[in-house]
């Protein structure tokens, strides 16, 4: 273990964290908006809309992200005259644009399925109640369906955020110097993969620790009734303050 190398490498890798975060946050943000649209199409009665959304999700979930990145980056380079004609080359020339596009399209496919599951879990009774109050269309979606669906989808979507943070490392294959890219560059010069990848791994660990805390906080904020008066883990283990099934009082109250 080369401690000197660790001392020299970690500031370089830490300095690359903003690049990793820009890739993750921008693709997650754009991908989330896309995903809502795709999920709605997936649930639509229009066969054509359903087929388009289904096909999209199928293609992007079933091919490796690395292949998608290479196809968008080197593939567009091969058809440069065509993309120049339609005015897209200005964007495709930039590796950042290609990386964010690939990550966005990829996460949109996964997130749309998570959101679809959330929407389908909204109880019919609540929809009927909303309709009885005169809500329909976009208002119904915005006020009732989406808020309930997102609560259901949040744990699954938290997974997707973590996967995306790690997926940004693939951008290093198209010359972007985010955390993994910088790590690979140092390794190529020093031939010491262990030291450098340990630091890179620790950085992803730290980022995803923050992500899990934020998602947990959001879960509590959005569904406080599930967490209110929750007995401690120890109390639940010993059965104190819980019913015989070990449920917390808050949840068992809801069930009654």
């Amino acid at each position: 273990m080369d401690w000197e190398l660790i001392g020299e490498s970690w500031p370089v890798l830490v300095a690359a964290i903003p690049e990793t975060l820009v890739l993750a946050i921008s693709s997650l943000a754009i991908g989330f908006v896309l995903a809502i649209g795709i999920a709605v199409l997936r649930l639509s009665d229009n066969r054509l809309a359903w087929a388009a959304a289904y096909g999209y999700v199928y293609v992007f979930r079933s091919t490796p992200l690395l292949v998608q990145i290479f196809l968008i980056y080197y593939g567009s380079g091969q058809f440069r005259p065509f993309f120049e004609d339609i005015g897209l080359w200005y964007f495709l020339r930039d590796p950042w644009f290609c990386a964010i596009t690939a990550l966005t399209l990829n996460t949109a496919a996964y997130a749309s399925e998570i959101i679809r599951g959330g929407i389908q879990s909204v109880p019919w009774g609540q929809l009927e109640a909303a309709r009885a109050c005169g809500m329909s269309g976009l208002l119904l979606f915005r006020r009732i369906i989406f808020p309930i669906a997102i609560r259901q989808a949040l744990p699954g979507y938290g997974n997707e955020i973590i996967l995306m943070v790690k997926a940004t490392s693939l951008a290093s294959t198209i010359t972007i110097l985010e955390v993994t890219g910088e790590a690979k560059k140092i390794i190529a010069a020093t031939w010491s993969p262990v030291e450098v990848f340990i630091i890179a791994g620790a950085i992803y660990l730290a980022i995803n620790f923050a992500v899990t805390r934020i998602v947990q906080w959001a879960e509590v904020r959005l569904s406080p009734q599930l967490y209110r008066d929750r007995p401690s883990w120890f109390a639940r283990l010993t059965g104190a303050g819980a019913d015989t099934a070990g449920r917390s009082p808050a949840i068992s109250d809801q069930l009654h």
């Binding site: 380079g77 440069r80 020339r93 590796p95 010359t175 690979k184 560059k185 010069a189």
Partner: protein, 280 residues
């Protein structure tokens, strides 16, 4: 067995005795025989290549009787130390690490690096005025050519394979003026040069020359001077035991003569397709 050992011991004593005498009129040279076109074996099993021709020419100049033997690469320095032969001519780069163990003659090959652009690029007409730059000691003409490169390529994007001497050169000499894009493989760099994502690519001339002659490199063009020395490394030299510094000096003298009268260039063009000889 004892007899054999005695013979070996006597032979070695004779060999080193000869070396000690400082005569060097009979030299055994080792080469690898598996590094085309530096040194390799033809269909009949004879050692051929640039270094075979070059070694014969050096021996003629040194007035020495030479014998060229084959030696696998991984044992090539230990066997030199053990006295199996007196010199290594096997495309061996002069590096600080090797210089701790053996000594070297002066360099004879330094292909170095060169810039390549698309034939269709406005940079394709670039001419720095000179063909070679040795960064070890830059004269006025070379300085002017370097400034010309900075002036023309300033603000452009240059691609390079990561962790190479070429990348070191870019960072040291053009780091402030150009955008450097580092690639994990040379193939990916070539793809992006073709796509126009980088304006120029810097790599070893030993790589470019065959590529530019092939169909794959048909759209590429080498521009500007061939750059060697400095960050590109010290080039290729003859490896010799530290105790035989005198022999290294004799080799260096012969090499300089072969570089000056164009013998090296003639052989390099024959075997490599371009002149990658060191500056005399």
């Amino acid at each position: 067995m004892k007899k054999l050992l005695t013979i070996v011991a006597v032979a070695m004593a004779l060999a080193t005795g000869q070396a000690m005498a400082g005569q060097y009129d009979s030299i055994t040279i080792a080469t690898e025989g598996a590094y085309k076109p530096w040194n390799f074996k033809d269909a009949a099993g004879n050692l051929v290549g640039f270094e075979i021709d070059f070694a014969k020419d050096l021996c003629r100049r040194m007035g020495a009787k030479c014998k060229i033997v084959e030696q696998a690469w991984d044992g090539i320095i230990p066997s030199l130390q053990a006295g199996k032969y007196d010199a290594i001519i096997a495309g061996m780069s002069i590096t600080a690490k090797r210089q701790k163990v053996i000594t070297f003659s002066r360099n004879y090959l330094s292909g170095g690096g060169g810039l390549v652009v698309m034939k269709s690029s406005p940079l394709a007409g670039f001419d720095a005025g000179i063909k070679f730059i040795n960064l070890k000691d830059v004269d006025a003409g070379e300085k002017a050519a370097l400034d010309k490169i900075v002036g023309t390529f300033g603000g452009k994007t240059i691609g390079v394979q990561t962790a190479t001497t070429h990348e070191n050169f870019l960072r040291e000499y053009l780091g402030k003026n150009v955008t450097i894009r580092s690639y994990d493989t040379q193939e990916n760099l070539d793809l992006d040069l073709q796509a126009g994502r980088v304006d120029a690519a810097l790599a070893s001339m030993d790589y470019w020359v065959p590529l530019l002659k092939s169909e794959k490199g048909a759209k590429f063009k080498h521009v500007g001077p061939q750059m060697s020395g400095g960050p590109f490394g010290a080039g290729t030299g003859v490896g010799i035991r530290k105790a035989d510094q005198a022999l290294a000096d004799i080799f260096s003298k012969a090499i300089t003569a072969a570089l000056k009268d164009g013998t090296c260039e003639k052989m390099a063009v024959k075997w490599f397709g371009y002149n990658n000889c060191s500056a005399p």
